[in-house]
Amino acid sequence: MRILRSVRHKACADGTYMKEYLVDEPVTAGFLDHLRTFGTVSMLAGIRDGFFEFEKTHFFSMKGFVGDLQFEVRFKKEFMDLTVDFLYLLCSRYHSGRPDREFLHRMEGSIQERIKVRLGES
């Protein structure tokens, strides 16, 4: 999956920075399984089209619909410089159901270390 462009952005009252992205293939159940490896995916079962939310602490949250070509991402502003690239990688390394998870987990660990430094945890 490739992010084609950002279509909307907003600095939110809760301190996050929202961006809505257009991607080149629809979000699938397989992509949500891929996301689950890196955080928590929630779904609202009774809602038309399968609404999902993804939460990865300190990185970003994501919301959208299965089958849609757009999703919304809310970045923690203080770590956005570190985490935006990870979002792009998370999508581009998905490869239509054949994700490159080893590489992604290495990147995730490296970013988490830098976040911990900023948080004064290491």
Partner: protein, 392 residues
């Protein structure tokens, strides 16, 4: 469901932010205004064109039952009007006057006032609301000998409650306290009769209930000399003078006017007159009541005000934040709403701890079918919120 240029249909319930669609008469009037040369006093030698500023003053004065038309001033919007009035009045007053406002206000009132507090130019009291309304008695109790100005909303943009500006205005008039009313949410939705309501300045905006374009608004003012103009420039009159003219309406207007905006406002007001404001108000109440009754079916929907006077319904769904609800309604159901704090932080502090809510706002063009579809969608989301499935 409405469509734009073949796009998939949607339901627009964000009329308290900006009304849509506009009446065909407004679209035609704006197009016509762009086809002809403009004429404003002192700005052209072309005598046959429509004088939009004068016509718009006549139209708004007639619509709000306000005279003389020269005391109708045009600005960019309600925020612009409130800034001119608040800063201009405080500068004219001098000293450090005491000002009263309410917790129902939009940031267009709160931010200019808090700027003046920070500058040490005023002392400010914010009167709370109960049961969606400011009690006139409580506002009277807040008055001190040094109180010179009261600024308050006519209709809350979150709760849809209309305030008793008549009773408050009469008391303030007796005590010579300048009274500015923010009518951004009421003008065009309910009848406003300024000949019977003692208000020193009544603020309106064009792009909401009056069906005009964004970028046109204004205010009426009874005694212009009580407010210092904070803008100066070209007026097309008294051009030899290096000092800005004091006469009305030039006192508060400088620079080239928004002619297409004025054309839209004239057409919007005439459209409302042709329909009849009582009819507009009645339909708004009927549809809002229907929407509320439909939402009351779901126990995890909390409606912020179940008896609004204006055609708007604010709510929250237990277990979902308002932005998520707005996202689901927009992307999943093609329902356009407004979420968050609605630029009214003190209202939300009082009603939902500052979390914000989802607001549905209707116009004359909203249909019963659209309300029913919207209510079904919201109820479906509310039921879905009960069935949240999480996986680590």
């Amino acid at each position: 469901m409405r469509s734009i240029d073949g796009q998939q249909g949607f339901i627009y319930l964000n009329n308290a932010a900006s009304s849509w669609p506009k009446p065909q008469e407004v679209l035609d009037a704006v197009a016509e205004s762009l086809r002809s040369p403009y004429a404003g006093e002192g700005r052209t030698s072309f005598g046959e064109a429509v004088n939009y500023p004068d016509s718009a003053r006549e139209a708004l004065g007639w619509f709000l039952h306000f005279d003389p038309p020269e005391h109708v001033v045009f600005t960019q919007n309600a925020t612009d009007s409130l800034n001119l009035l608040i800063h201009g009045y405080v500068r004219a007053e001098g000293g450090r006057p005491h000002v009263i406002t309410t917790a129902l206000e939009h940031n267009s009132v709160l931010r200019p006032l808090h700027t003046l507090v920070r500058e040490g130019a005023i002392d400010l009291t914010v009167v709370p609301f109960r049961d969606h309304r400011v009690d006139p008695a409580e506002l009277k109790n807040a008055i001190r000998p040094e109180t010179r100005l009261v600024v308050m909303t006519h209709g809350s943009n979150v709760l849809g409650s209309v305030q008793d500006i008549g009773a408050i205005g009469r008391y303030l008039e007796e005590n010579d306290i300048f009274f500015v009313v923010d009518g951004a949410q009421t003008a065009g939705h309910i009848p406003v009769d300024l000949s019977r309501t003692p208000v020193d300045a009544f603020v309106f905006t064009g792009h909401k209930g009056l069906f005009g374009l964004p970028g046109i608004g204004g205010f009426t003012i009874r005694s212009p000399d009580r407010v210092v103009p904070v803008r100066q420039g070209g007026t097309g009159t008294e051009s030899r003078s290096l000092v800005h003219p004091e006469g009305m309406p030039e006192r508060f207007e400088a620079g080239t006017p928004n002619y297409p905006g004025m054309a839209s406002l004239i057409a919007g007001v005439r459209f409302l007159e042709s329909v009849g404001l009582e009819k507009v108000e009645r339909k708004g109440k009927e549809l809002t009541g229907h929407l509320i009754r439909s939402l009351q079916r779901e126990p995890n929907i909390t409606i912020c005000n179940e008896t609004p006077d204006l055609p708007l319904v604010s709510f929250n769904i237990e277990g979902l934040d308002c932005d998520t609800v707005g996202y689901i309604l927009g992307r999943g159901y093609r329902l356009i709403v407004r979420t968050g704090l609605h630029c009214a932080p003190l209202v939300h502090q009082a009603i939902d701890g500052g979390r914000g809510c989802v607001r549905l706002s209707l116009s004359w063009f909203t249909t019963r079918e659209e309300c029913e579809t919207a209510a079904d969608a919201i109820c479906e989301v509310a039921r879905g919120a009960d069935s949240q499935v999480s996986t680590p």
